[in-house]
């Protein structure tokens, strides 16, 4: 059974946000419009958080791409009253739009603010959308799913061709789009995979590790003097 995880090398990240745009295109994330954006309602499953560099204030920025960290002990699934979000056996924290009642308890519980809400009906079915991903109605919560539909497609293709799916066939849109190859994706339970190797790197750290959420997105700290 695979355990899907991601390593993000902060040294390579340039803050270009190609991952953000690829994610939005791939997952039919709605553009909420300027008015809603001003009110703080942008939906961005992959979001690049920025912080001014402390040693070079005003000159350098630090970037942190933050997808859903797909925790192994997710605080969001604990509090959902209707089984609308749960951790599946392969480690991906799923979101069931048809079940969600919009109570937003999971949003209040997530320490990474990785969950987003459809405050209005932001889009209907329209041409140009990715047909593999459902379009969310108003009043439900959504979040990054490690492009789970791509996993399903890759598995079905392998099944149709009567072979095993090879690990490189399943990559989320952000990992595929990153021009600096800062996002590495794979099976953490496979000791030979690149993610497993990098996860053990001395540069590796997890965000808010002390909270015990056991996130499966592992970051590699920036260069010398910061490791």
């Amino acid at each position: 059974m695979a355990l899907w995880g991601m390593v993000i090398d902060l040294d390579r990240c340039t803050g270009c946000q190609a991952c953000v745009m690829a994610c939005k295109a791939e997952n039919n994330v709605p553009a909420v419009g300027a008015k809603e954006a001003l009110r703080g309602r942008i939906i961005s499953w992959m979001q690049v958080l920025t912080e001014g560099d402390e040693e070079h204030p005003g000159e350098k920025m630090r970037f942190l791409p933050r997808p859903c960290l797909q925790c192994d002990d997710p605080p969001c699934t604990k509090v959902c009253p209707v089984y609308a979000t749960y951790r599946n056996p392969e480690g991906i924290v799923a979101q069931i739009y048809a079940r969600c009642i919009g109570c937003r308890f999971c949003m209040a519980a997530c320490p990474y603010n990785a969950k987003y809400f459809n405050w209005r009906l932001y889009q209907k079915d329209a041409p140009g959308q990715n047909p593999d991903v459902s379009v969310r109605p108003k009043g439900v919560v959504e979040k990054c799913t490690f492009c789970h539909h791509r996993l399903q497609k890759a598995r079905e293709r392998a099944l149709a061709e009567k072979r095993e799916m090879s690990p490189g066939e399943y990559v989320p849109a952000c990992g595929e789009a990153c021009p600096a190859r800062a996002i590495i994706f794979g099976d953490l339970s496979d000791p030979g995979s690149e993610v497993s190797r990098l996860a053990k790197s001395p540069r590796a750290f997890r965000l808010q590790e002390e909270l015990g959420t056991k996130p499966k997105v592992i970051y590699l700290t920036e260069g010398e003097g910061r490791g």
Partner: protein, 450 residues
């Protein structure tokens, strides 16, 4: 002092027998507010929660604040009615009915707030079909159902003898009163059944009430968020609930005392005792709040301190200091000396506490969400007309329910007042004698012992 006025207790039945213009004006005014609330909710139902001021990261605001606030007020009924009954406090007699009615009516409003807060209220039944007991919201659902059921039972059973009076004395609504009176004749066996049932309910309702607000607090304290993850929340919320409940009860008592001319029944002494209870709860509330904030400040954990300073001196300082003023300074100043101007002081303190406790809930819910751990932009929360309308409509709906109740049933328990007149003195005298040392031949007993 216990003599009856020439008209007996007829004034207690007057609102049920006759309706004056004041009633229609009140219903009219309340209906306008309810209409505003209904329009606000209809707008939200059509367009989504986007019509509120909620956003990322402040995804909970007025509605969750109102939920905690209204459920908190529901503690008026139980604690006053049940605890005073169990401790045999004779001064409870004119107060219990009003307290119990508050609890029942406000629980509906409180539970309704959560329905209003849902992004998909059309899927509310999912909680019944697919509920997860690991989620504190399901603990809420169970606990509040238990409390609502228990409160309705605890309101209805002591009303039965009064309903029998209505059945026998009034001409209108005969069917309603006859059915609800359950054949009450006052026979000794019926009295035994009634008193036993009331005693059981008084004991049962207290742990249920405590569980309700503890479980509401667990919605916050079971998350990992700074200044929510606090072990003190359970008792803190219960204390706050009792505090706000007493204040709401005092306001309701003063309103109906004026409106229905109940000065003979609701005397300054009752308000003095309730005022003293309110003072004690104010001090207790202050103690819990002080302990909570001192612990956060002393630990100086960075993420908690972000939230702390946001409340203390940041964007939320008016609400935080307003809360301290209205929940502690004003009540303590008003309530320390209650011998003079009792009613005025007690009313001021209660109104102040009602505002203050709403601010307290707001201060708990919003600043934590507004200061997330990760470096997002800080989101300030500005409620819209929809949220104000919903708040106004909720208050007005509660007031309307209460008002309609007083038109159907007596708002002061007639039979308990009579029981107090006819049996109270004797019972209290017997009890007092049982506390004091026995007076039969004391000298003989002492010498023999030596």
């Amino acid at each position: 002092m216990a003599e009856r006025a020439p008209d007996g207790d007829a004034i207690l039945l007057a609102p049920i027998e006759r309706t004056g213009p004041g009633f229609y004006w009140s219903v009219g005014a309340l209906s306008l507010l309810i209409l505003w609330g209904a329009m606000a909710y209809w707008t939200q139902f059509r367009e989504g929660l986007g019509v509120t001021g909620l956003h990322q990261p402040v995804s909970w605001g007025f509605y969750v604040t109102n939920f905690v606030f209204f459920i908190g007020i529901s503690h008026a009924g139980t604690l006053i009615s049940a605890i005073l009954r169990l401790s045999k406090a004779e001064w409870r007699r004119p107060v219990t009915r009003m307290a119990e009615v508050i609890t029942v009516m406000v629980l509906f409003i409180g539970a309704g707030q959560i329905l209003v807060d849902l992004g998909r209220p059309d899927r509310a039944l999912n909680v019944l079909r697919y509920g997860r007991y690991q989620s504190p919201l399901l603990w809420d659902a169970t606990s509040i159902s238990a409390y609502l059921t228990a409160s309705i039972v605890y309101l209805y059973i002591p009303m039965i003898p009064d309903i029998a009076i209505l059945r026998d004395r009034l001409q209108k609504r005969k069917l309603l009163y006859t059915v609800l009176a359950l054949g009450w004749t006052g026979s000794p066996r019926q009295q035994k059944v009634l008193n036993r049932a009331i005693a059981i309910m008084a004991v049962l309702v207290i742990p249920i009430a405590i569980s309700v607000h503890s479980v509401v607090s667990f919605v916050f304290s079971m998350t990992l968020q700074p200044m929510w993850r606090s072990t003190i929340f359970g008792p803190y919320f219960v204390v706050g609930a009792i505090f706000s409940g007493i204040a709401a009860l005092i306001v309701a008592m003063l309103v109906f005392r004026k409106a229905y001319g109940l000065e003979r029944y609701l005397k300054p002494i009752h308000f003095r005792y309730l005022g003293q209870l309110l003072l004690v709860m104010s001090l207790l509330w202050f103690y819990f709040t002080f302990a909570e904030y001192l612990t956060a400040y002393y630990g100086n954990e960075p993420e908690e301190m972000h939230v702390f300073w946001a409340k203390f001196s940041g964007p939320f300082w008016p609400f935080f200091w307003g809360m301290a003023l209205t929940n502690f300074v004003v009540p303590v100043l008003c309530l320390v000396r209650l011998r003079s101007h009792t009613l005025g002081k007690v009313l001021t303190a209660s109104l102040s506490v009602s505002v203050g406790m709403w601010l307290e809930r707001f201060i708990i819910v919003v600043p934590t969400l507004s200061n997330p751990r990760l470096p997002f932009g800080e989101g300030m929360y500005w409620p819209t007309w929809v949220e104000w309308g919903e708040l106004a409509g909720s208050f007005a709906l509660f007031a309307l329910f209460y008002l309609l109740f007083t038109k159907l049933f007596p708002v002061i328990s007639i039979w308990e007042i009579r029981e107090g007149r006819e049996l109270g003195l004797k019972e209290v005298e017997e009890r007092l004698l049982s506390y004091l040392p026995d007076t039969s031949e004391p000298a003989v007993v002492e010498t023999e012992r030596r």
